[in-house]
Symmetry: C2
């Protein structure tokens, strides 16, 4: 018996599979592309194939994220705030429990405060402005002619001399980055400046919900160790970063799929 | 005897020259480029050359705009809000007088309410977010592979079927524009949608200062007739658009240069 969660985001589709006992069996990340629905189906099938499973072995499937409504194959759907809270609560147990979640996605950022059971107490979200989201990192990497994956390492070449990026607007920051390059500044110090700029925004968002206990950081940008260091610096405390930060929300949806299935079984019994 | 004003903006440098009686003698617009100071000096010299004037014939020169502090050649400097108010008040007389000014610049947008003498009563400004500024038009033109100058005409091909651009953020709107093109939408209806998006933001800004009497619209984007039509539509009234909307602020600085000079002469007499 397996349960699955699928998180259909604006930039990536994440699928997580849990065993009958709720432990993680596997997870998978693919690009969303423009064919959301087709790509979501393929992402799920890909993960099943990798584990040698048939679709029928997945008893219950919950969809979450931006594109969840388009995915009719799911048994249920849930908001990404709730799914993220459940996933972080579960994954956070190994770190002694977490009460605050910072999530930076491809096109949004969120801060969530949870209670001791993983229930959402309070949250704040930005999905209107590219600054402070993964999109700013994409744009900056393009301006600097770097791969997104390399920003984390390059950060540490320049962190000691991080430049301050004055424009909070991603569009105006692009011009500023180009100007800094033209003035002979190194990519490391520019990248570190960008990370600190996102970090300040992120901490402001987190403070709006209130920072409690250990802070869990997830979403694709949490793979960027330079950004993690900048946020820790601005926050004045360490972050709990899971090994696979992109799949926490899908994992939460899978956990919830299991609970819902078991509750329904209980009702029928 | 001549007086001059120079408006050193983020994207263009504007110079205006007035006669001894305060009437406009000529004006000139050049790109700011990265060498602000050098380009500002050349812009002034270019205008003087065009009118066969020597520098000494300009009795008083006032600088305004973003780069005004760097331009030591000026006799004085003044904020662009004040200069814009004076210039619009003076130019507005030919239209029966104006009390509200909407200015859209390359990297900012402003609304100013003035009194019957051109004094600033109230103003609101956005220079933090590219949406609602000329920069959004630049970005959109690039995404649509169009020249900035062509947006105005193309607007009227699509105004009847203007698409709604849902993202207020310029960065997210870029993706939306690319998506609309990919879905086979015409450039005219996309351009009209962009103009309405800027128009709504502009009207919101203007309402913050209060819309009084006739509304004067200046800044480079006021050359775009499609944008003018969209703002008039959202505002529910006609705009007063000067023939050379880019140079109103420089003209205001030149008018002020004359007044300051005459006041000093009066003091000495
Ligand atoms: S500040 Fe910049 S990044 Fe943010 S909404 Fe405005 S245009 Fe977008």
């Amino acid at each position: 018996t397996y349960f699955a969660g699928i998180d259909i985001g604006s930039t990536a589709i994440k699928v997580a599979l849990v065993h009958g006992d709720g432990t993680l069996a596997g997870a998978h990340v693919t690009a969303s592309g423009s064919l959301f629905h087709k790509n979501a189906k393929e992402a799920l099938q890909g993960l099943l194939d990798r584990h040698g499973l048939r679709r029928e072995q997945v008893r219950y499937l919950i969809a979450t994220g931006y594109g969840r409504k388009l995915f009719k194959e799911a048994d249920d759907s849930i908001s990404e705030i709730t799914a993220n809270a459940i996933g972080a609560h579960e994954a956070g147990k190994a770190f002694g429990g977490v009460r605050t979640i910072i999530n930076i996605g491809g096109q949004d950022s969120k801060a969530i405060q949870i209670d001791g059971e993983g229930g959402v107490v309070n949250f704040a979200m930005n999905d209107k402005c590219a600054a402070g989201t993964g999109r700013f990192l994409d744009v900056a990497a393009r301006n600097l002619d770097l791969d997104l994956e390399d920003l984390g390492d390059i950060h540490f070449n320049g962190a000691g001399a991080a430049l301050s990026i004055n424009s909070t607007c991603t569009v105006f920051a692009e011009s500023e980055i180009i100007g800094l390059l033209a003035n002979g500044h190194g990519k490391g110090e520019i990248v570190a400046g960008i990370h600190y700029s996102i970090a300040r925004r992120t901490v402001r968002l987190a403070k709006r919900v209130g920072i409690e206990d250990r802070v869990y950081f997830d979403g694709g940008p949490a793979l960027n160790k330079g950004l993690v260091a900048a946020i820790e610096d601005e926050l004045g405390r360490q972050l709990v970063v899971p090994e696979h930060p992109q799949t926490t929300t899908a994992f939460g949806a899978a956990i919830l799929a299991r609970s819902e299935y078991l509750a329904e079984q209980g009702d029928e019994a």
